[in-house]
Symmetry: C2
Amino acid sequence: MNATLEKVFEAYIKEELFTKWWCRGKKMKVYHFDCKDGGSWHIAEQSEDGNEYEFTGCFHEVAKDRRIVQTFEFLGMPERGHVMLEKIEFVAVDEHTTEIRTHSTAMNQLDRDGMIASGMESGWRQSIEALGKLLESDN
Amino acid sequence: MNATLEKVFEAYIKEELFTKWWCRGKKMKVYHFDCKDGGSWHIAEQSEDGNEYEFTGCFHEVAKDRRIVQTFEFLGMPERGHVMLEKIEFVAVDEHTTEIRTHSTAMNQLDRDGMIASGMESGWRQSIEALGKLLESDN
């Protein structure tokens, strides 16, 4: 990401920034977003056709400018319990460039395959592009 | 476990019960224990020699009499970030017997092997025995 470590980290933890990029830049409804150690979050992506896609999780650790460890669940599944554990690490490559390392772990192969089949990769790519634009416009 | 589903679930979510069995029945210091959706916990096992072993996590989901999904981290590691995701399911086998299914997922093999090498299995066995005694004494 072409931005300082501090700017990139801020875009993850501040609600007013996070909401601008996380849902692929689409409209987002925030039920709550309490990004701190032991906090939790619950948001919905609002699609053009009026549908809502809800996601929730808890923040295990929010280590300033270094790391976020959180859970992640899509609430549109037939039943609850398909939870992922995510570790996001922020590394300054140089003064103007930050590497974001995201490691997601599913509890079993079915959950992992379902997540991949859901189009997570292209969706996430759109989110990261939206983040890039947000940080660019901020410069 | 020789107890009703409701009693077993209670022993997981109520601080005054949880503290009696979770640390193998040993003394426990509670920094905080907020067992609900989006809550978090931080406790320490206090050993006979005066040492404290701290653990922390967040509660992703607390579904009454059914399921707890939470994170788990031992804070005595050289660095933070070695986090597990745990799903605990409670199933009534009959009116007096409850099955507890615990599924722990590490983010990589090293963390998993480290957890096994730490003696987690025998420790957990002692905890479950302490839980059994607590529920027995309650009858």
